[in-house]
C-alpha cells in the first residue's frame, strides 16, 4: 500500500492508505481526528472543511495523494482562536455538527481578508450548511472578530 507523509496540526505523520482515499477519512478513521465531519462527500455542505496550506478546502473531495501542504484541522486551531472564543461568547452552536467546518471556513476567510464586507462574508460562508439555523449567530460571531 502507498505510504503518504503529511503534516497535520504541526506534526509529521505517515499513513498507509490507497491513493484515492480522501483526506477526510484519513483524518477521521486513520488519525482519529474526528473533529472534522462527514456530511455529504461531494463538497456540498462544508462540514469537512480544513486548511491545507492555509486555504479552506473540503477534505471529503481531496485525495490524500494530492495533499502537498500542511493541514490544519479544528483540533489544530488550538481552542484560543478568536473565532472559537467568539463562538462560545455568541452561543453559536446548536447540534454543533457543522461548526468545525464553519469555524475553519471563517478562519481561512479572516486570514486573507480580516474585514470582509457583508456580501463577501455571506458568500464565503455559503458553502457551509447548518440545519439548526445558527447562521445569524455565526455571522454575529465572525463580525465581532472582524471588528465590524
Amino acid at each position: 500500500m502507498p505510504r503518504y507523509s503529511l503534516e497535520v496540526n504541526g506534526e509529521s505523520v505517515e499513513v498507509d492508505v490507497a491513493a484515492d482515499v480522501p483526506l477526510l477519512w484519513v483524518l477521521r478513521d486513520v488519525l482519529g481526528l474526528t473533529g472534522t465531519k462527514y456530511g455529504c462527500g461531494v463538497a456540498q455542505c462544508g462540514a469537512c472543511t480544513v486548511h491545507v496550506g492555509g486555504v479552506a478546502v473540503r477534505s471529503c473531495s481531496l485525495r490524500v495523494s494530492r495533499v502537498r501542504a500542511p493541514v490544519t484541522t479544528i483540533e489544530g486551531l488550538g481552542g484560543d482562536h478568536p473565532l472559537q472564543r467568539a463562538w462560545v461568547e455568541h452561543d453559536v452552536p446548536q447540534c454543533g455538527y457543522c461548526q468545525s467546518g464553519q469555524i475553519m471556513s471563517a478562519s481561512a476567510l479572516l486570514a486573507r481578508d480580516p474585514h470582509p464586507d457583508e456580501a463577501t462574508l455571506r458568500g464565503a460562508m455559503a458553502g457551509n450548511l447548518c440545519r439548526c439555523g445558527t447562521y445569524p449567530r455565526i455571522l454575529a460571531a465572525i463580525r465581532s472578530v472582524a471588528g465590524d
Partner: protein
C-alpha cells in the same frame, strides 16, 4: 379542561402515540407515565439502581450526584440534538438545588428504565421533566440543608442555601455542598420536600454548556465513536422503494483496498465491512449492484399528490364540526375556494445516520445518536438474542434529529453486522445519498378549503378537507382519524361561524415519519395562508382580521400584538417588498411571525423575519430564542426548497445539490422576542417552524397579486 391541562395531556398522548406508531411495545409505551412516578412506587427501586454505578457520596436520586469537591453531576435523560436540553434540564435541577452553576457537570444518561421515559420528541423534554427535575433538585437541597444544620448545630429553620452552600442565617457561616455530601448521603430521603419559590437559574439567559466542546472539535457524535479494533461498514441497499438487489460483484468489492468482508444481509442488502469508512463506500461502488425495481416500479410522488388532491373532494372522515357548515356555505354571499399543497420533505440532519455496536462475551454495547434510547435498547435485545440487562446503549450527541432519529432502522442493521465482526465493534455509516433516498419523509399533504363570507365579508363558514398519505406508508386507515396528520388544522383557534374539518388518507408505500413540527407544519401553512386569502379578498388587514376572529382569552393575541410592534406593522415596507403574517399555537406554546419578502429574478427573497413567542415559563431565554430562530430557518428552508420526488419507484434527489437547503447567503435577518408567559413551560423545539411558510406565502401573494398555494416556492433543482 384548561388549555394548559389539555396541552399536558396532549404531549403524553402524543409521546405514546408516536411510540406505538413506531412499533414499540405497549409495555414500553407505558413507560411514558413511569417518569411521573418518581416519588411513588418507583422511588425505592430507583434509589437502589444507579446506571452507571456512582462513586459520589451523595446521590439521592437518579438525576444528580454531588462529590466531596462540590462537583454536581446532572444526568440528562433526553437526547441533545441541538435543542439545548443538556443546558436547560440541568438548569432546572440547579435552580431547585440552589447549585453553583460553575460546579455543574453534565452526563448523558444511557438507556435505562431507572431514568423513566427517555424519548426526545413532541417538544416535550422540558414540559415533561420540569416538575420531576424540580423535585429531584429539591430533595437534594432539603437533605443538604439538614446536613448543614447538623454541622452548625442549629435547627434547619435557621439555615438557608446559597449557590452551592448551606448558610446559617444568624451567623453568616457557610458550608459548601461538597463538604456536606458525605453526611447528606447518610440521611433519609424526604418524600415531599418544600421547593424554593425563588429562582436563581430558571429564567436566566444562560449560554450552552457544550458550546466550547462543539467549537473545538471535541464533541463526540455517534459517527465519532472510536473503539479498539473498530470496523467500518456501509450497506448497499435497493435503490428503489420496495426494490431488490440482483447480482453484485462481490469479488470486485473484496479487491478494494481496505475492504475486509462483504456480507449479504437478511434483508437482501449487501454490506461492505472495511478498515475505514471510505473503503466501505468504495467497496459498495465496486459491487456494481444490479438494482431491480420491486412492486413499486411505477410509483410516483406526483401521482400520490394527485390522489391527495382528489381525496380532498371525497367524503373523508369527520375531524371537527361546529354548527352546520353546508347550509352556512349555501347561504353565504360569497364563497372562496382554494387547494393548498405541500410535497414530501426530507430531514437531512447534518450528521448522516449511523450507529456503532459490539457483541462480545455474550453482551451487547451500542453507541447511538438516537432520539429514542429505550426503543434502541429493546431492538438490540430482541435482535441480539440476549436479555435486555445485557444490552448497554450509550446515547451520543446527535448531529441534528428533527424527528428522523426516532426510527431505529440503522440499529437493526448494525446489530446484524456486529455479529459478523464480533468480537470487534463495527460502525455503520449511511452515505448522504442513503439518507436522502431512504428517509422517513414528512408526508405530502393537500387541503381544500371552502370559506363562506356574508354580505359584510365576515366568515360564516369554514370547511377544510385535509388529505395526507397514511402514516407509515401502510394501508389506508379506513376512516379512523390520525390526529398527528390533522394537528394544526383540526380545530382552528378563530371564530369562523360554522366549521367542518375532514380528513382523508391515501395509502402509499413512500415511507413517512415525524418531521419537526409534524402535522402543524403543513397544516398551519394551509390554514394561515387561506386566512390571508380571506383578508385580501375582503380588503382587511390580516392582523386586524385575526384579532377580530380570536377569542378574547386567546394566547395568540399577545404575540400578534407584539410582533406587529416589532416590525412596525402599520408602516409600509420598503419599496418592492411586502409583508406576510402568521400565528399558530402548538406544543403548548404560541408564536407569531412576520416575513418581509421581495421577488428577485422571479424568485422569492426573504429579507427580514420578526417573531414573538410565548411559551409559558421560560427556563433559558437564550435557548428559547435559538430554537425559534432555528425553527424559522428550518421552516423557511422547506418552504423555499424542500421537496422529495419519487419517480419510477425511486427518490430522484440524492444529496444537497438537488435536495437543496437554505444557505447563509439567503438567510434573512431574524429578530425574536420571548414574551413573559404564565403557567407551566410550553414546548419550544418545534414551535418556530410552522408560521414561516404561510408568512412568506402571504407576503408573496400580496407582492405578485397571485395566491401562493403550493410549496416549495423555488422550482425543483
Amino acid at each position: 379542561m384548561t388549555e394548559e391541562a389539555t396541552s399536558k395531556r396532549r404531549w403524553r398522548k402524543l409521546g405514546r402515540r408516536q411510540l406505538i406508531s413506531l412499533g414499540v411495545t405497549a409495555a414500553a409505551a407505558g413507560g411514558v407515565g413511569l417518569g411521573l412516578g418518581f416519588f411513588g412506587g418507583q422511588h425505592w427501586e430507583r434509589r437502589q439502581m444507579r446506571v452507571p454505578p456512582r462513586e459520589q457520596p451523595f446521590s439521592p436520586n437518579v438525576f444528580l450526584a454531588i462529590d466531596h469537591d462540590g462537583t454536581t453531576t446532572v444526568w440528562v435523560t433526553r437526547s441533545e440534538m441541538g435543542q439545548g436540553v443538556s443546558t436547560s434540564l440541568p438548569m432546572i435541577v440547579a435552580d431547585a438545588l440552589d447549585a453553583d452553576w460553575r460546579a455543574v457537570r453534565v452526563e448523558q444518561a444511557p438507556a435505562s428504565r431507572t431514568y423513566g421515559y427517555q424519548g426526545t420528541m413532541a417538544s416535550a423534554s422540558v414540559r415533561s421533566m420540569y416538575e420531576e427535575l424540580r423535585e429531584a433538585g429539591g430533595v437534594a437541597r432539603a437533605m443538604l440543608l439538614e446536613a448543614g444544620a447538623t454541622v452548625f448545630g442549629v435547627d434547619v429553620a435557621a439555615c438557608d442555601t446559597r449557590a452551592g452552600g448551606v448558610i446559617h442565617r444568624a451567623s453568616g457561616r457557610r458550608v459548601g455542598y461538597g463538604e456536606l455530601a458525605g453526611l447528606a448521603g447518610t440521611l433519609e430521603v424526604p418524600s415531599a420536600p418544600a421547593l424554593r419559590d425563588e429562582h436563581r437559574w430558571i429564567g436566566r439567559p444562560t449560554r450552552r454548556l457544550d458550546a466550547r466542546d462543539k467549537s473545538e472539535g471535541r464533541a463526540v457524535y455517534g459517527i465519532d465513536v472510536r473503539l479498539p479494533g473498530l470496523r467500518y461498514a456501509s450497506i448497499e441497499r435497493p435503490r428503489g422503494i420496495g426494490g431488490t438487489l440482483g447480482d453484485v460483484a462481490e469479488e470486485a468489492a473484496r479487491a478494494v483496498d481496505g475492504v475486509l468482508d462483504v456480507v449479504r444481509m437478511t434483508s437482501g442488502s449487501v454490506a461492505v465491512i472495511a478498515e475505514h469508512t471510505f473503503a466501505a463506500f468504495a467497496g459498495r461502488r465496486a459491487l456494481a449492484a444490479d438494482h431491480r425495481a420491486g412492486p413499486n416500479a411505477s410509483l410516483s410522488s406526483a401521482r400520490v399528490e394527485e390522489r391527495l388532491r382528489d381525496a380532498t373532494r371525497g367524503e373523508g372522515a369527520e375531524v371537527y364540526v361546529e354548527g352546520h357548515v353546508r347550509p352556512a356555505l349555501a347561504g353565504a354571499a360569497r364563497t372562496l375556494e382554494a387547494t393548498y399543497e405541500v410535497p414530501y420533505v426530507a430531514h437531512q440532519c447534518m450528521e448522516p445516520i449511523n450507529a456503532t455496536a459490539r457483541f462480545a462475551d455474550g453482551a451487547w454495547e451500542v453507541w447511538a445518536p438516537t432520539q429514542d434510547p429505550m426503543t434502541v435498547r429493546e431492538t438490540v435485545a430482541e435482535l441480539g438474542g440476549v436479555g435486555i440487562e445485557r444490552c448497554t446503549v450509550h446515547v451520543t450527541l446527535l448531529g441534528g434529529g428533527f424527528g428522523r432519529r426516532t426510527v431505529p432502522e440503522e440499529i437493526r442493521q448494525v446489530v446484524e453486522l456486529a455479529r459478523h465482526t464480533s468480537p470487534n465493534p463495527v460502525q455503520l455509516v449511511w452515505t448522504r445519498e442513503d439518507d436522502v433516498q431512504h428517509d422517513y419523509y414528512r408526508c405530502a399533504a393537500a387541503h381544500r378549503f371552502e370559506v363562506g363570507l356574508d354580505a359584510e365579508g365576515e366568515i360564516v363558514a369554514w370547511r377544510d378537507h385535509v388529505a395526507t398519505p397514511t402514516h407509515g406508508g401502510g394501508e389506508a386507515s379506513g376512516g379512523r382519524v390520525d390526529e398527528l396528520a390533522v394537528d394544526g388544522a383540526a380545530r382552528p383557534p378563530y371564530r369562523f361561524g360554522a366549521v367542518e374539518v375532514r380528513w382523508s388518507d391515501v395509502a402509499s408505500p413512500i415511507p413517512t415519519g415525524i418531521w419537526r413540527s409534524v402535522g402543524h407544519g403543513y397544516n398551519a401553512f394551509a390554514v394561515e395562508a387561506m386566512l390571508d386569502e380571506v383578508a385580501r379578498a375582503t380588503e382587511r388587514d390580516p392582523l386586524e382580521l385575526r384579532l377580530a376572529l380570536l377569542p378574547a382569552d386567546a394566547r395568540h393575541r399577545a404575540v400578534l400584538e407584539r410582533v406587529a410592534q416589532m416590525c412596525d406593522w402599520t408602516a409600509p415596507p420598503p419599496e418592492g417588498r411586502a409583508r406576510g403574517l402568521a400565528v399558530h399555537a402548538c406544543f403548548g406554546s404560541v408564536c407569531a411571525q412576520v416575513a418581509e419578502v421581495s421577488v428577485e429574478d422571479s424568485l422569492p427573497r426573504v429579507h427580514r423575519v420578526w417573531a414573538a413567542v410565548e411559551c409559558g415559563r421560560v427556563i433559558n431565554p437564550l435557548g428559547v430564542k435559538a430554537q425559534i430562530l432555528g425553527g424559522i430557518v428550518f421552516g423557511l428552508s422547506a418552504a423555499l426548497h424542500g421537496a422529495i420526488d419519487v419517480e419510477a419507484g425511486r427518490v430522484r434527489q440524492s444529496n444537497f445539490h438537488d435536495a437543496v437547503v437554505l444557505r447563509m447567503d439567503a438567510c434573512p435577518e431574524i429578530e425574536v422576542e420571548v414574551l413573559d408567559g404564565a403557567g407551566e413551560p410550553g414546548g419550544i423545539g418545534e414551535v418556530g417552524v410552522p408560521m414561516i411558510a404561510p408568512a412568506v406565502a402571504s407576503a408573496l401573494s400580496r407582492l405578485t397579486g397571485t395566491p401562493v398555494r403550493k410549496l416549495p416556492l423555488f422550482p425543483r433543482a
